[in-house]
Amino acid sequence: MKTRSHVMPLILLMTRCLPAMLLIATMAPRGASATLGGAMASVEADQQVMNASQQITANNAAYTVYELQTAAGTKIREYVSSAGTVFAVAWDGPSLPDLRQLFGSYFAQYTEAAAAARRGHGHLVIRLPELIVESSGHMRAFFGRAYLPKTLPQDVTLSDIR
Protein backbone atom coordinates (compact mmCIF):
# COMPACT_ATOMS: atom_id res chain seq x y z
CA MET A 1 0.00 0.00 0.00
CA LYS A 2 1.45 3.32 -1.00
CA THR A 3 -0.64 6.10 0.34
CA ARG A 4 0.12 9.76 0.16
CA SER A 5 -0.33 11.60 3.39
CA HIS A 6 -3.51 13.58 3.64
CA VAL A 7 -4.14 17.06 4.85
CA MET A 8 -4.78 16.98 8.54
CA PRO A 9 -7.81 18.83 9.82
CA LEU A 10 -6.87 22.29 10.97
CA ILE A 11 -5.85 22.04 14.58
CA LEU A 12 -6.37 25.10 16.70
CA LEU A 13 -3.05 25.86 18.27
CA MET A 14 -2.17 28.08 21.16
CA THR A 15 -2.22 31.62 19.94
CA ARG A 16 -0.25 34.28 21.67
CA CYS A 17 -2.30 37.31 20.88
CA LEU A 18 -5.90 38.20 20.44
CA PRO A 19 -5.51 40.13 17.18
CA ALA A 20 -4.32 36.91 15.62
CA MET A 21 -7.47 35.15 16.70
CA LEU A 22 -9.56 37.92 15.21
CA LEU A 23 -7.61 37.75 11.99
CA ILE A 24 -8.24 34.04 11.71
CA ALA A 25 -11.90 34.65 12.15
CA THR A 26 -12.05 37.24 9.42
CA MET A 27 -9.47 36.04 6.90
CA ALA A 28 -10.38 33.92 4.00
CA PRO A 29 -9.04 30.39 4.56
CA ARG A 30 -6.15 30.69 2.19
CA GLY A 31 -2.57 29.74 2.84
CA ALA A 32 -0.36 32.66 3.64
CA SER A 33 3.23 31.58 3.60
CA ALA A 34 6.10 31.89 1.26
CA THR A 35 9.67 30.92 0.69
CA LEU A 36 12.54 32.38 2.69
CA GLY A 37 13.40 35.69 1.08
CA GLY A 38 10.33 35.48 -1.08
CA ALA A 39 7.27 37.65 -1.18
CA MET A 40 3.86 37.03 0.26
CA ALA A 41 2.68 36.64 -3.30
CA SER A 42 3.72 32.99 -3.31
CA VAL A 43 1.02 32.15 -0.85
CA GLU A 44 -0.18 28.62 -0.44
CA ALA A 45 2.88 27.11 -2.08
CA ASP A 46 4.49 25.85 1.11
CA GLN A 47 1.21 24.78 2.58
CA GLN A 48 0.29 22.80 -0.50
CA VAL A 49 3.68 21.20 -0.98
CA MET A 50 3.78 20.08 2.64
CA ASN A 51 0.11 19.15 2.97
CA ALA A 52 0.02 21.42 5.97
CA SER A 53 -2.66 23.15 7.91
CA GLN A 54 -2.07 26.83 8.57
CA GLN A 55 -2.75 29.50 11.14
CA ILE A 56 -1.57 32.96 12.20
CA THR A 57 0.00 32.89 15.64
CA ALA A 58 1.42 36.38 16.02
CA ASN A 59 0.75 39.68 14.38
CA ASN A 60 2.34 42.99 15.30
CA ALA A 61 3.69 46.14 13.68
CA ALA A 62 6.98 44.50 12.65
CA TYR A 63 5.87 41.10 11.39
CA THR A 64 3.25 38.39 11.17
CA VAL A 65 3.87 34.74 12.01
CA TYR A 66 2.13 32.08 9.95
CA GLU A 67 2.23 28.65 11.51
CA LEU A 68 1.84 25.51 9.41
CA GLN A 69 1.47 22.01 10.76
CA THR A 70 2.48 19.07 8.59
CA ALA A 71 0.74 15.72 8.62
CA ALA A 72 3.69 14.34 10.61
CA GLY A 73 2.97 16.88 13.34
CA THR A 74 5.90 19.21 12.70
CA LYS A 75 5.10 22.88 13.17
CA ILE A 76 6.63 25.47 10.85
CA ARG A 77 6.53 29.17 11.61
CA GLU A 78 7.16 31.67 8.83
CA TYR A 79 7.98 35.25 9.76
CA VAL A 80 6.70 37.80 7.28
CA SER A 81 7.74 41.44 7.60
CA SER A 82 5.27 44.28 7.31
CA ALA A 83 6.76 44.84 3.85
CA GLY A 84 5.62 41.35 2.91
CA THR A 85 8.94 39.49 2.85
CA VAL A 86 9.64 36.19 4.60
CA PHE A 87 12.75 36.89 6.68
CA ALA A 88 12.80 33.82 8.93
CA VAL A 89 11.42 30.33 9.36
CA ALA A 90 11.48 28.05 12.40
CA TRP A 91 10.36 24.49 12.91
CA ASP A 92 9.89 21.93 15.65
CA GLY A 93 8.47 18.43 15.73
CA PRO A 94 9.11 14.76 15.02
CA SER A 95 10.42 15.23 11.46
CA LEU A 96 12.34 17.82 9.50
CA PRO A 97 10.25 19.99 7.18
CA ASP A 98 10.72 20.32 3.43
CA LEU A 99 13.69 22.69 3.65
CA ARG A 100 14.02 22.94 -0.12
CA GLN A 101 10.55 24.44 -0.20
CA LEU A 102 11.09 26.67 2.83
CA PHE A 103 14.55 27.90 1.84
CA GLY A 104 13.82 28.36 -1.85
CA SER A 105 16.81 29.86 -3.62
CA TYR A 106 18.90 29.51 -0.46
CA PHE A 107 18.62 25.70 -0.31
CA ALA A 108 21.67 25.00 -2.50
CA GLN A 109 23.83 27.34 -0.40
CA TYR A 110 22.54 25.62 2.70
CA THR A 111 23.35 22.07 1.64
CA GLU A 112 26.79 23.07 0.35
CA ALA A 113 27.70 24.91 3.55
CA ALA A 114 26.23 22.18 5.74
CA ALA A 115 28.39 19.51 4.15
CA ALA A 116 31.46 21.53 5.12
CA ALA A 117 30.40 22.40 8.67
CA ARG A 118 29.55 19.13 10.35
CA ARG A 119 29.79 18.81 14.13
CA GLY A 120 27.91 15.58 14.84
CA HIS A 121 24.52 14.47 13.66
CA GLY A 122 22.53 16.18 16.38
CA HIS A 123 23.54 19.74 15.57
CA LEU A 124 24.21 22.01 12.63
CA VAL A 125 25.08 25.69 12.49
CA ILE A 126 25.54 27.55 9.21
CA ARG A 127 26.67 31.16 9.20
CA LEU A 128 26.84 32.75 5.78
CA PRO A 129 26.73 36.50 5.20
CA GLU A 130 23.17 36.25 3.91
CA LEU A 131 21.85 33.13 5.62
CA ILE A 132 21.96 31.72 9.15
CA VAL A 133 20.70 28.19 9.81
CA GLU A 134 20.63 26.49 13.21
CA SER A 135 19.35 22.94 13.42
CA SER A 136 19.21 20.57 16.36
CA GLY A 137 17.62 17.36 17.59
CA HIS A 138 16.99 13.77 16.62
CA MET A 139 14.26 11.85 14.90
CA ARG A 140 11.06 12.34 16.95
CA ALA A 141 12.24 15.73 18.28
CA PHE A 142 13.77 18.27 15.89
CA PHE A 143 14.10 22.02 16.18
CA GLY A 144 15.63 24.56 13.89
CA ARG A 145 15.45 28.04 12.48
CA ALA A 146 16.80 29.93 9.51
CA TYR A 147 16.86 33.64 8.88
CA LEU A 148 18.23 36.24 6.53
CA PRO A 149 20.26 38.57 8.79
CA LYS A 150 20.26 41.41 6.27
CA THR A 151 16.48 41.51 6.04
CA LEU A 152 15.57 41.30 9.72
CA PRO A 153 13.08 44.07 10.55
CA GLN A 154 14.47 46.56 13.03
CA ASP A 155 12.38 45.60 16.00
CA VAL A 156 12.98 41.88 15.72
CA THR A 157 15.38 40.15 18.09
CA LEU A 158 16.70 36.67 17.46
CA SER A 159 14.92 35.34 20.53
CA ASP A 160 11.65 36.15 18.74
CA ILE A 161 12.44 33.56 16.08
CA ARG A 162 11.68 30.19 17.59
Partner: protein, 400 residues
Protein backbone atom coordinates in the same frame (compact mmCIF):
# COMPACT_ATOMS: atom_id res chain seq x y z
CA UNK B 1 45.37 2.87 7.87
CA UNK B 2 46.46 3.48 11.43
CA UNK B 3 43.08 2.69 12.87
CA UNK B 4 42.80 -0.53 10.91
CA UNK B 5 46.14 -1.70 12.22
CA UNK B 6 45.24 -0.93 15.81
CA UNK B 7 41.90 -2.71 15.55
CA UNK B 8 43.56 -5.81 14.13
CA UNK B 9 46.30 -5.76 16.72
CA UNK B 10 43.75 -5.36 19.45
CA UNK B 11 41.72 -8.29 18.16
CA UNK B 12 44.80 -10.45 17.92
CA UNK B 13 45.79 -9.66 21.50
CA UNK B 14 42.30 -10.36 22.74
CA UNK B 15 42.22 -13.69 20.93
CA UNK B 16 45.51 -14.66 22.54
CA UNK B 17 44.26 -13.68 25.95
CA UNK B 18 40.85 -15.25 25.98
CA UNK B 19 41.03 -17.76 23.17
CA UNK B 20 37.66 -16.50 22.07
CA UNK B 21 36.07 -18.54 19.33
CA UNK B 22 32.46 -17.59 19.62
CA UNK B 23 32.39 -16.11 16.16
CA UNK B 24 30.77 -12.98 17.46
CA UNK B 25 33.58 -10.79 16.31
CA UNK B 26 33.53 -8.94 19.59
CA UNK B 27 36.56 -7.80 21.51
CA UNK B 28 36.41 -7.27 25.22
CA UNK B 29 38.39 -4.48 26.80
CA UNK B 30 37.77 -4.68 30.49
CA UNK B 31 36.33 -8.15 30.74
CA UNK B 32 36.05 -11.41 28.90
CA UNK B 33 32.30 -11.50 29.41
CA UNK B 34 30.18 -12.20 26.35
CA UNK B 35 28.16 -9.04 26.91
CA UNK B 36 31.11 -6.63 26.71
CA UNK B 37 32.19 -4.94 23.51
CA UNK B 38 35.22 -2.67 23.14
CA UNK B 39 34.52 0.95 22.23
CA UNK B 40 37.05 3.59 21.24
CA UNK B 41 37.19 7.35 20.88
CA UNK B 42 39.69 8.11 18.12
CA UNK B 43 40.02 10.14 14.94
CA UNK B 44 38.40 7.42 12.85
CA UNK B 45 37.88 7.28 9.10
CA UNK B 46 36.90 10.96 8.78
CA UNK B 47 39.29 12.44 11.34
CA UNK B 48 36.61 13.65 13.74
CA UNK B 49 36.66 14.82 17.38
CA UNK B 50 34.80 13.11 20.22
CA UNK B 51 33.42 10.30 18.09
CA UNK B 52 32.76 6.95 19.79
CA UNK B 53 33.31 3.85 17.64
CA UNK B 54 32.83 0.11 17.83
CA UNK B 55 32.74 -2.89 15.49
CA UNK B 56 29.58 -4.71 14.46
CA UNK B 57 29.18 -8.06 12.70
CA UNK B 58 26.30 -8.60 10.28
CA UNK B 59 25.38 -11.97 8.80
CA UNK B 60 22.99 -13.30 6.20
CA UNK B 61 20.02 -14.37 8.37
CA UNK B 62 20.37 -17.92 9.57
CA UNK B 63 23.66 -18.35 7.76
CA UNK B 64 27.36 -18.26 8.46
CA UNK B 65 28.24 -15.64 5.85
CA UNK B 66 29.23 -12.69 8.04
CA UNK B 67 31.15 -9.46 7.75
CA UNK B 68 32.55 -7.25 10.53
CA UNK B 69 32.47 -3.49 10.03
CA UNK B 70 34.79 -1.37 12.14
CA UNK B 71 34.42 2.29 13.08
CA UNK B 72 30.67 2.23 13.53
CA UNK B 73 29.45 5.23 15.57
CA UNK B 74 27.95 4.29 18.96
CA UNK B 75 24.93 6.57 19.36
CA UNK B 76 22.67 6.64 22.41
CA UNK B 77 20.70 9.44 20.70
CA UNK B 78 19.27 7.30 17.87
CA UNK B 79 17.93 3.81 17.35
CA UNK B 80 18.80 1.26 14.68
CA UNK B 81 21.87 -0.08 12.88
CA UNK B 82 22.97 1.62 9.65
CA UNK B 83 25.95 0.47 7.63
CA UNK B 84 27.64 2.14 4.66
CA UNK B 85 27.16 -0.13 1.65
CA UNK B 86 30.67 0.86 0.57
CA UNK B 87 32.09 -1.07 3.53
CA UNK B 88 30.64 -4.38 2.37
CA UNK B 89 31.60 -6.31 -0.78
CA UNK B 90 29.00 -6.36 -3.55
CA UNK B 91 29.00 -10.14 -3.24
CA UNK B 92 27.63 -9.91 0.31
CA UNK B 93 23.88 -9.74 -0.26
CA UNK B 94 21.38 -9.33 2.57
CA UNK B 95 17.65 -9.96 2.00
CA UNK B 96 15.63 -6.86 1.11
CA UNK B 97 12.61 -6.07 3.27
CA UNK B 98 9.40 -5.02 1.56
CA UNK B 99 6.51 -2.83 2.54
CA UNK B 100 3.03 -4.24 3.00
CA UNK B 101 2.48 -3.97 -0.76
CA UNK B 102 5.50 -6.14 -1.54
CA UNK B 103 7.73 -3.36 -2.88
CA UNK B 104 11.28 -2.84 -1.62
CA UNK B 105 11.33 -0.77 1.58
CA UNK B 106 13.87 2.07 1.53
CA UNK B 107 14.49 4.57 4.28
CA UNK B 108 15.33 8.25 4.48
CA UNK B 109 16.88 8.75 7.90
CA UNK B 110 16.75 12.31 9.13
CA UNK B 111 19.51 13.83 11.21
CA UNK B 112 19.74 17.47 12.23
CA UNK B 113 22.69 17.90 9.87
CA UNK B 114 21.50 15.82 6.90
CA UNK B 115 19.99 12.54 5.82
CA UNK B 116 21.04 9.01 4.94
CA UNK B 117 19.25 7.09 2.20
CA UNK B 118 19.22 3.37 1.59
CA UNK B 119 17.26 0.12 1.61
CA UNK B 120 16.08 -1.70 4.72
CA UNK B 121 17.67 -5.14 4.79
CA UNK B 122 17.46 -8.06 7.15
CA UNK B 123 20.60 -9.21 8.97
CA UNK B 124 21.61 -11.27 11.95
CA UNK B 125 23.58 -8.87 14.13
CA UNK B 126 26.41 -10.09 16.36
CA UNK B 127 28.23 -7.87 18.84
CA UNK B 128 30.55 -9.39 21.44
CA UNK B 129 28.79 -12.65 22.39
CA UNK B 130 25.32 -11.29 21.75
CA UNK B 131 23.16 -12.13 18.75
CA UNK B 132 19.95 -10.78 17.30
CA UNK B 133 18.20 -12.58 14.45
CA UNK B 134 16.73 -10.92 11.36
CA UNK B 135 17.19 -7.30 12.43
CA UNK B 136 15.94 -4.61 10.01
CA UNK B 137 19.01 -2.46 9.27
CA UNK B 138 19.61 0.36 6.80
CA UNK B 139 22.20 -0.06 4.06
CA UNK B 140 23.31 3.52 3.42
CA UNK B 141 24.23 4.53 -0.12
CA UNK B 142 23.31 1.21 -1.68
CA UNK B 143 23.87 1.54 -5.45
CA UNK B 144 20.73 -0.53 -6.03
CA UNK B 145 18.65 2.46 -4.90
CA UNK B 146 20.74 5.37 -6.09
CA UNK B 147 17.90 7.76 -6.92
CA UNK B 148 16.85 9.77 -3.86
CA UNK B 149 13.25 11.02 -3.87
CA UNK B 150 12.91 14.80 -3.73
CA UNK B 151 10.97 14.70 -0.47
CA UNK B 152 13.98 12.99 1.15
CA UNK B 153 16.72 15.15 -0.33
CA UNK B 154 14.64 18.21 0.62
CA UNK B 155 15.40 17.60 4.29
CA UNK B 156 19.05 18.60 3.95
CA UNK B 157 22.44 17.53 2.66
CA UNK B 158 23.20 13.89 1.83
CA UNK B 159 25.38 11.86 4.20
CA UNK B 160 25.63 8.69 2.17
CA UNK B 161 29.40 8.27 2.18
CA UNK B 162 31.89 7.55 4.95
CA UNK B 163 33.45 10.98 4.45
CA UNK B 164 30.11 12.78 4.67
CA UNK B 165 28.75 10.72 7.55
CA UNK B 166 32.00 10.56 9.53
CA UNK B 167 31.83 6.82 10.25
CA UNK B 168 31.36 3.47 8.54
CA UNK B 169 27.91 3.26 10.05
CA UNK B 170 25.95 4.02 13.19
CA UNK B 171 24.79 1.70 15.96
CA UNK B 172 21.78 3.44 17.45
CA UNK B 173 21.36 2.10 20.99
CA UNK B 174 18.99 4.75 22.33
CA UNK B 175 15.87 4.37 24.45
CA UNK B 176 13.61 3.54 21.50
CA UNK B 177 13.14 0.18 19.80
CA UNK B 178 12.51 1.68 16.34
CA UNK B 179 13.85 4.83 14.75
CA UNK B 180 10.49 6.33 13.83
CA UNK B 181 7.93 4.38 15.83
CA UNK B 182 4.18 4.19 15.58
CA UNK B 183 3.72 7.37 13.55
CA UNK B 184 5.46 5.75 10.56
CA UNK B 185 3.37 2.61 11.02
CA UNK B 186 0.13 4.52 10.54
CA UNK B 187 1.11 7.39 8.21
CA UNK B 188 3.13 7.57 5.00
CA UNK B 189 5.21 10.59 5.98
CA UNK B 190 7.48 12.38 3.49
CA UNK B 191 11.11 11.93 4.45
CA UNK B 192 10.87 8.59 6.28
CA UNK B 193 9.97 5.26 4.65
CA UNK B 194 9.48 4.70 0.92
CA UNK B 195 8.23 1.88 -1.30
CA UNK B 196 10.58 1.68 -4.24
CA UNK B 197 9.48 -0.48 -7.17
CA UNK B 198 11.49 0.00 -10.36
CA UNK B 199 9.01 2.65 -11.44
CA UNK B 200 10.16 4.95 -8.62
CA UNK B 201 9.82 5.63 -4.91
CA UNK B 202 6.80 6.81 -3.01
CA UNK B 203 6.20 7.45 0.69
CA UNK B 204 4.79 4.44 2.47
CA UNK B 205 3.97 3.19 5.91
CA UNK B 206 6.35 0.80 7.67
CA UNK B 207 5.11 -1.51 10.42
CA UNK B 208 7.19 -1.51 13.60
CA UNK B 209 8.62 -4.92 12.66
CA UNK B 210 10.00 -3.51 9.40
CA UNK B 211 11.49 -0.28 10.72
CA UNK B 212 15.22 0.00 11.43
CA UNK B 213 15.43 -1.46 14.93
CA UNK B 214 17.77 -1.11 17.90
CA UNK B 215 19.58 -4.48 17.69
CA UNK B 216 20.05 -4.62 21.46
CA UNK B 217 16.31 -4.88 21.98
CA UNK B 218 16.29 -7.97 19.72
CA UNK B 219 19.21 -9.76 21.39
CA UNK B 220 18.34 -13.18 22.75
CA UNK B 221 19.84 -12.13 26.10
CA UNK B 222 20.86 -8.88 27.81
CA UNK B 223 18.29 -7.04 25.70
CA UNK B 224 16.92 -4.35 28.03
CA UNK B 225 19.60 -1.71 27.47
CA UNK B 226 23.27 -0.83 27.41
CA UNK B 227 25.96 0.73 29.56
CA UNK B 228 28.56 3.01 27.99
CA UNK B 229 31.67 2.84 30.17
CA UNK B 230 34.45 5.31 29.44
CA UNK B 231 37.39 6.29 31.66
CA UNK B 232 38.12 9.87 32.62
CA UNK B 233 40.38 11.85 30.28
CA UNK B 234 42.90 14.59 31.18
CA UNK B 235 41.90 18.25 30.78
CA UNK B 236 44.14 18.45 27.70
CA UNK B 237 42.33 15.52 26.12
CA UNK B 238 43.60 12.23 24.73
CA UNK B 239 44.42 10.82 21.32
CA UNK B 240 42.62 7.55 22.04
CA UNK B 241 40.27 6.43 24.75
CA UNK B 242 39.12 2.84 25.13
CA UNK B 243 36.09 1.71 27.08
CA UNK B 244 33.31 -0.84 27.06
CA UNK B 245 29.79 -1.13 25.72
CA UNK B 246 28.07 -3.51 28.12
CA UNK B 247 24.78 -5.14 27.10
CA UNK B 248 21.94 -5.66 29.52
CA UNK B 249 21.03 -3.90 32.76
CA UNK B 250 20.96 -6.11 35.84
CA UNK B 251 21.05 -9.29 33.76
CA UNK B 252 24.62 -10.36 34.57
CA UNK B 253 27.11 -9.90 37.37
CA UNK B 254 28.84 -7.14 35.39
CA UNK B 255 25.88 -4.91 34.51
CA UNK B 256 23.97 -4.23 37.71
CA UNK B 257 22.80 -0.71 38.47
CA UNK B 258 24.68 -0.69 41.77
CA UNK B 259 24.66 2.84 43.12
CA UNK B 260 23.60 4.36 39.80
CA UNK B 261 20.63 6.74 39.97
CA UNK B 262 17.74 6.16 37.56
CA UNK B 263 16.23 9.09 35.63
CA UNK B 264 13.06 8.19 33.75
CA UNK B 265 12.67 9.98 30.42
CA UNK B 266 9.63 11.06 28.42
CA UNK B 267 8.25 8.05 26.53
CA UNK B 268 7.52 10.08 23.37
CA UNK B 269 10.76 12.00 22.94
CA UNK B 270 13.22 10.20 25.23
CA UNK B 271 14.03 13.56 26.80
CA UNK B 272 14.41 14.63 30.44
CA UNK B 273 14.80 17.98 32.21
CA UNK B 274 18.04 19.81 32.99
CA UNK B 275 18.16 22.85 35.26
CA UNK B 276 20.98 25.28 34.54
CA UNK B 277 21.48 28.91 35.58
CA UNK B 278 17.99 29.08 37.09
CA UNK B 279 16.48 28.00 33.78
CA UNK B 280 14.68 24.76 33.02
CA UNK B 281 15.49 22.90 29.81
CA UNK B 282 12.86 20.33 28.95
CA UNK B 283 14.52 18.76 25.89
CA UNK B 284 17.57 17.28 27.53
CA UNK B 285 19.40 14.18 26.38
CA UNK B 286 22.46 12.06 27.22
CA UNK B 287 23.78 11.60 23.69
CA UNK B 288 27.01 9.73 22.96
CA UNK B 289 26.57 10.78 19.31
CA UNK B 290 26.94 14.49 20.11
CA UNK B 291 30.54 15.66 20.24
CA UNK B 292 30.12 18.35 22.89
CA UNK B 293 27.94 19.74 25.63
CA UNK B 294 25.31 21.82 23.87
CA UNK B 295 23.58 24.46 25.98
CA UNK B 296 22.83 28.17 25.87
CA UNK B 297 24.74 30.64 28.02
CA UNK B 298 25.07 34.21 26.76
CA UNK B 299 27.80 34.88 29.32
CA UNK B 300 30.27 32.49 27.72
CA UNK B 301 32.25 33.80 24.75
CA UNK B 302 31.87 31.96 21.45
CA UNK B 303 34.78 31.16 19.10
CA UNK B 304 34.81 33.05 15.84
CA UNK B 305 32.48 31.51 13.24
CA UNK B 306 35.50 31.20 10.96
CA UNK B 307 37.76 29.65 13.59
CA UNK B 308 39.66 26.87 11.82
CA UNK B 309 39.48 24.54 14.82
CA UNK B 310 36.23 25.10 16.61
CA UNK B 311 33.95 27.48 14.72
CA UNK B 312 31.06 28.59 16.86
CA UNK B 313 32.01 26.47 19.88
CA UNK B 314 32.46 28.08 23.29
CA UNK B 315 35.76 29.93 23.73
CA UNK B 316 35.85 31.42 27.23
CA UNK B 317 39.10 33.26 28.12
CA UNK B 318 39.66 30.69 30.88
CA UNK B 319 38.09 27.31 31.61
CA UNK B 320 34.66 27.63 33.23
CA UNK B 321 33.66 25.18 35.96
CA UNK B 322 29.89 24.85 35.82
CA UNK B 323 27.14 22.61 37.11
CA UNK B 324 23.63 21.63 36.11
CA UNK B 325 20.97 19.36 37.57
CA UNK B 326 19.43 16.43 35.71
CA UNK B 327 15.81 15.76 36.66
CA UNK B 328 14.03 12.58 35.61
CA UNK B 329 10.27 12.36 35.11
CA UNK B 330 10.33 10.09 38.20
CA UNK B 331 11.48 12.97 40.42
CA UNK B 332 15.08 11.79 40.63
CA UNK B 333 17.59 14.62 40.58
CA UNK B 334 21.37 14.92 40.53
CA UNK B 335 23.74 17.83 40.07
CA UNK B 336 26.66 17.28 37.70
CA UNK B 337 29.76 19.42 37.52
CA UNK B 338 31.39 19.99 34.14
CA UNK B 339 34.04 22.19 32.57
CA UNK B 340 33.98 24.31 29.46
CA UNK B 341 37.43 25.03 28.04
CA UNK B 342 38.42 27.43 25.29
CA UNK B 343 37.70 25.17 22.31
CA UNK B 344 40.13 26.96 20.02
CA UNK B 345 43.01 26.63 22.49
CA UNK B 346 42.04 23.07 23.35
CA UNK B 347 42.33 21.89 19.76
CA UNK B 348 45.19 24.20 18.80
CA UNK B 349 47.37 23.36 21.81
CA UNK B 350 46.79 19.60 21.75
CA UNK B 351 47.35 18.40 18.20
CA UNK B 352 46.49 14.76 17.78
CA UNK B 353 44.06 14.70 20.68
CA UNK B 354 40.47 13.98 19.68
CA UNK B 355 38.86 13.00 23.00
CA UNK B 356 37.93 15.98 25.20
CA UNK B 357 35.78 16.20 28.34
CA UNK B 358 35.47 19.99 28.24
CA UNK B 359 34.22 20.83 24.75
CA UNK B 360 30.97 22.79 24.56
CA UNK B 361 28.91 24.79 22.09
CA UNK B 362 25.73 26.89 22.12
CA UNK B 363 22.46 24.98 21.78
CA UNK B 364 19.87 26.44 19.43
CA UNK B 365 16.92 24.37 20.60
CA UNK B 366 15.13 26.71 23.04
CA UNK B 367 14.56 23.93 25.60
CA UNK B 368 17.65 21.95 24.67
CA UNK B 369 20.50 20.94 26.96
CA UNK B 370 22.48 18.11 25.37
CA UNK B 371 24.89 16.10 27.49
CA UNK B 372 27.16 14.91 24.70
CA UNK B 373 30.14 12.57 24.75
CA UNK B 374 32.17 14.77 27.18
CA UNK B 375 29.63 13.86 29.87
CA UNK B 376 30.33 10.14 29.34
CA UNK B 377 34.02 10.31 30.29
CA UNK B 378 34.62 8.98 33.78
CA UNK B 379 31.08 7.58 34.06
CA UNK B 380 29.07 4.47 33.40
CA UNK B 381 25.98 5.70 31.58
CA UNK B 382 22.98 3.34 31.38
CA UNK B 383 20.35 3.59 28.63
CA UNK B 384 17.25 1.44 29.23
CA UNK B 385 15.03 0.62 26.23
CA UNK B 386 11.33 1.47 26.18
CA UNK B 387 8.95 -1.22 27.48
CA UNK B 388 11.81 -3.50 28.52
CA UNK B 389 11.86 -4.68 32.10
CA UNK B 390 14.91 -4.03 34.25
CA UNK B 391 15.80 -4.32 37.90
CA UNK B 392 14.68 -0.68 38.23
CA UNK B 393 11.40 -1.10 36.37
CA UNK B 394 10.43 -0.49 32.76
CA UNK B 395 12.43 1.63 30.36
CA UNK B 396 12.80 4.18 28.96
CA UNK B 397 15.29 5.67 31.37
CA UNK B 398 18.91 6.74 31.69
CA UNK B 399 21.05 6.12 34.76
CA UNK B 400 24.54 6.91 35.99
Amino acid sequence: MRHKFSTCAFAAIALLLVGCGDGGGGVSSSSTASNVQAITVEAGPANTTNTLFTSVTVCVPGGSDCRTIDHVLVDTGSSGLRIMASELPASFVLPQLTDSGGDPLVECTQFADGYTWGPVKSADVKIAGEQAAAVPIQMIGDPGFAAVPASCSSTGPAENTVAAFGANGVLGVGVFMQDCGSICAVSAIPGFYYACPVSGCQETTASLERQATNPVGLFANDNNGVIVELPAVPDAGAATVTGALVFGIGTQTNNGLGAAQVFKVRPDTGRFVTAYNNQTYTDSLLDSGSSAYFFADNNIAVCDPSDPYAPGFYCPPSTQDLSAAINGTNGASATLGFSVANAHALVNDNPGNVAFNNLAAPEVLPGGFIWGLPAFFGRNVYTAIEQQNTSAGLGPYVAF
